[in-house]
């Protein structure tokens, strides 16, 4: 509600805001925050729906992507083999210690388990399948097998199975790749004679799979991978598919986490200070009223067309056009100075100028009827000469 008064004029007061316009104003004031909140909620819902149940870990039995192991896990489940995916070492041990025959699939890509944990697993497990095991795992599960490095990319593919292991009986060949292992006997020999290195090693109850391509969704149908995978994993009624995570890593040594040395109040105080920062932002960011806009006038520099033409001349190296313009303008000035009419011919103007000024006619003729001028240096020299002559003749 407001009224505008002036010594000699009284302007119409704006009408009081109606309820509708008040709400419209509030909507305008809050709409940014409302939109941000709605977008945040939608993003959270989308994220929960789209990414929640999905698992993107390599060889995970829940991962339907090319690198996942869901295909093998589903086929095994269809053959009444229960596939369990423990989410930690304790759960894995519990699953292994349960009744009935179990196979342990251990795929420790990050090498998170230490010697003690591996030993514990080894004691609990019956049949074990190690996928791309490292040195630590082999030392516990298959002491006489040694890693022999990575299969070179240029290795011939496929590799013939060529071995007497029953699980590989239906397999003739498989893709080359992954890691290779040195052992007394094995299948998919990558090495030469006396330097055997295998992609599939069986030692006691432990099977070492050198190539994850035997199991993953993308390659399980290649060559004879499918029977190999199913035979290897489906020997017992229960399969414990265990992929350790960083949560299973057991920190050893003193003060692995320096934050644990800090007093208790540090993190609540830090949180409070963050909150204080937010409050300070709210305090400083609140404007006292909306911004006032200034309707600015258009600014057009008057000489911008001439400037544009100059740039065109320059870009096109239009020396002739520049010379013609300057010469014509100079002749006009001469004609005005010598009181010759607008219609005078250039010859007459130059001749009169030579007579009046006493300058040599040949010099003026060279200047006003120039030979072909080449190069910017020539142009500048000519223009300066023109300028000098004009001054000598007395044009201000």
């Amino acid at each position: 509600m407001s009224r505008i008064k002036d010594g000699d004029r009284l302007l119409a007061a704006p009408r009081p805001a109606s309820a509708r316009s008040v709400w419209a104003g509030r909507w305008r004031a809050w709409r940014l925050w409302i939109i941000i909140a709605v977008v945040a909620v939608l993003a959270a819902v989308y994220y929960a729906l789209a990414n929640g149940p999905h698992d993107t870990r390599v060889l995970s039995p829940q991962n339907p992507g090319p690198e996942g192991g869901k295909a093998v896990a589903r086929v095994l489940a269809d053959h009444d083999i229960s596939v369990e995916q423990p989410d930690g070492l304790d759960a894995a041990l519990a699953a292994l210690r349960a009744d009935g025959g179990t196979t342990l699939l251990l795929h420790d890509q990050g090498g998170y388990l230490n010697q003690d944990q591996l030993t514990e697993l080894d004691e609990a497990a019956g049949r074990t399948v190690l996928v791309e095991p490292g040195f630590d795992e082999l030392r516990v599960f298959a002491p006489s097998t040694r890693p022999a490095g990575v299969v070179p990319e240029e290795a011939d593919s496929p590799v013939a199975a060529d071995c007497p292991v029953p699980a590989v009986a239906e397999t003739r060949e498989a893709a080359a790749g992954g890691k290779k292992y040195r052992a007394a006997r094995g299948c998919f020999n990558y090495g030469a004679r006396d330097h055997e290195a295998y992609g599939y090693v069986v030692e006691g109850t432990t099977t070492v799979l050198g190539n994850p391509a035997y199991l993953d969704n993308g390659h399980v149908l290649d060559f004879d991978h499918a029977p190999l995978a199913l035979r290897t994993l489906g020997a017992e009624p229960t399969l414990v598919w265990y992929q350790p995570t960083v949560a299973d890593h057991e920190f050893t040594g003193p003060a692995a986490n320096p934050f644990e040395l800090l007093p208790d109040w540090v993190s609540p105080a830090t949180g409070w200070l963050l909150l204080l920062g937010v409050i300070a932002i709210l305090w400083r960011a609140r404007r006292d009223g909306p911004l006032v806009s200034e309707p600015l006038p258009v600014v057009v520099p008057a000489s911008e067309t001439a400037e544009g033409r100059a740039r065109l001349y320059r870009d096109a190296q239009a020396i002739d056009a520049a010379v013609a313009a300057l010469r014509s303008a100079s002749l006009d000035r001469l004609a005005v100075r010598l009181r010759l009419g607008h219609g005078s011919r250039a010859d007459d103007i130059v001749a009169t100028a030579a007579k009046e000024s006493g300058l040599p006619g040949s010099r003026l003729r060279r200047l006003y009827f120039p030979e072909k001028i080449t190069g910017e240096a020539g142009l500048v020299e000519w223009a300066q000469e023109l300028h000098t002559v004009e001054k000598e003749i007395g044009i201000p």
Partner: protein
């Protein structure tokens, strides 16, 4: 809702319990206490919604002069309103003190003076006033923006006024009132008086001399009550800035000087701002208010970003004056716009009126045409020379149709136009 610095300090104080009894419950309790205090403070604050806002704004102010607008705040509520107020003047009004602390007891009214120093011509406005009402503890405040519109009309500065005394002096010389007589050719007979040495012998009235003992001369006075129609072009070419002033503003200065001069010279002045349609019009009315009407009409003029359409101009001029008039057209001599728009209709105007075309010349082009220091400068000089030549050709064409041309730099245009008017008046061509 707005927070105060005191609230932030209080929140910092909340660090003490958080450190003494670390834990989430402490944080929640501290947060709860803070929110409760802020909420209480806001609840106890006076409502900014009931405040009644009134303004007193000067009707108009000349550009360059200060003005004071007054803001009245009335608190009809039952609580004392403490806090601050901010008035939303647009920046070009030059308002420095738009924020005031306020302390309004219930039912009382206060006035605040806002000092304005406008930096632009035109209608400058204020749209809203924001009232922030602080709670008794000074932790948080209620804030509301009231719509409260107001306009300050900023008139053209009329710097050309300084030329007025000398031009008026010359006008008076024409009028026969001064000691030195300048006789116009086509002027009207005024009176007879005794010959004094220095008078033109051709002005001796022999018949009257024969009747009396002294030699008697006739005196003339310039024609009076002629019509002067000033047309100001507000099309896109008037937006161009020459010497840091839009052509439109130079045109306004020149129009004002000419109008005041013509009015003192006894002529009737009409003003028309035109591009495709009339933008402003002032008719020759009572002389005392002519200047006021003129500056009021000119104040809100802005360059329109459209091409001028002069084909409607003869009809507009005819509507203003059916008699022979001095038609002053303030426009730009840009080749394309004038050749296509103005040249075709100019014969229709020159056949009936005396037409003067006044245009602003860009002194920068002359400077550039003379600069041949390096290659880039030579190309610029060539382009400038070419533009100037086209302009000269255009002026020749316009003169051939019978128009007078006044082509001058921004500062020189108003006096030169005034000189042209005096010359035309002296030679009786009006």
């Amino acid at each position: 809702m707005a927070l105060y610095r005191r609230f932030v300090w209080l929140a910092l104080l909340g660090l003490v319990p958080v450190v003494l009894w670390p834990g989430v419950p402490t944080i929640l309790i501290a947060l709860g206490v803070l929110s409760a205090l802020a909420g209480l403070d806001v609840a106890l604050a006076a409502s900014p919604r009931v405040v009644v806002i009134e303004r007193a704004i000067p009707r108009s102010v000349r550009l360059g002069e200060p003005a004071t607008a007054q803001l009245y705040l009335h608190n009809p509520g039952t609580r004392r309103l403490r806090g601050s107020v901010r008035d939303g003047w647009q920046p070009s009004t030059g308002a420095r003190n738009t924020r005031f602390p306020i302390d309004l007891p219930a039912g009382e009214r206060r006035v605040f003076a806002i000092n304005l120093q406008p930096v632009r011509r035109g209608d400058l406005s204020v749209h809203h006033t924001t009232v922030r009402s602080s709670g008794p503890m000074g932790l948080a405040a209620r804030q509301l923006t009231h719509a409260s519109a107001g306009t300050l009309r900023v008139l053209p500065p009329f710097h050309a006024k300084r030329h007025l005394p000398s031009k008026l002096q010359r006008l008076r010389e024409l009028d026969g009132r001064a000691a030195i007589q300048v006789r116009g050719a086509g002027t009207e007979f005024d009176s007879l008086r005794d010959y004094v040495r220095g008078d033109d012998v051709r002005s001796i009235d022999w018949r009257a001399t024969a009747r009396r003992q002294n030699v008697v001369v006739r005196t003339w006075r310039p024609e009076r009550d002629r019509r002067v129609v000033i047309v100001l072009d507000t099309s896109r070419t008037s937006a161009a800035r020459v010497a840091d002033e839009p052509r439109l503003d130079t045109g306004i200065e020149a129009s004002l000087l000419l109008a005041v001069l013509a009015e003192r010279g006894g002529d009737r002045v009409d003003f028309l701002a035109y591009d495709r349609r009339p933008r402003a019009r002032v008719e020759s009315a009572s002389k005392a208010v002519m200047l006021t009407q003129l500056v009021e009409a000119m104040a809100p003029l802005e360059p329109e970003l459209i091409e001028a359409d002069f084909s409607g101009l003869p009809a507009q001029v005819r509507a203003i004056s059916t008699h022979r008039s001095l038609l002053v057209l303030l426009t730009a001599l840009d080749s394309g716009a004038v050749e296509e728009g103005l040249l075709p209709i100019l014969p229709a105007l020159t056949s009936q009126h005396v037409v003067v075309i006044a245009a602003v010349r860009d002194p920068e082009l002359d400077e550039r045409a003379a600069d041949v220091s390096d290659a880039a400068a030579v190309y610029r000089a060539a382009a400038a020379a070419r533009t100037l030549q086209q302009r000269e050709a255009l002026k020749t064409q316009l003169r051939a149709v019978g128009a007078e041309i006044v082509d001058a730099a921004p500062l020189e245009l108003p006096p030169l136009l005034a000189d042209t008017y005096i010359r035309l008046k002296a030679t009786g061509r009006l």
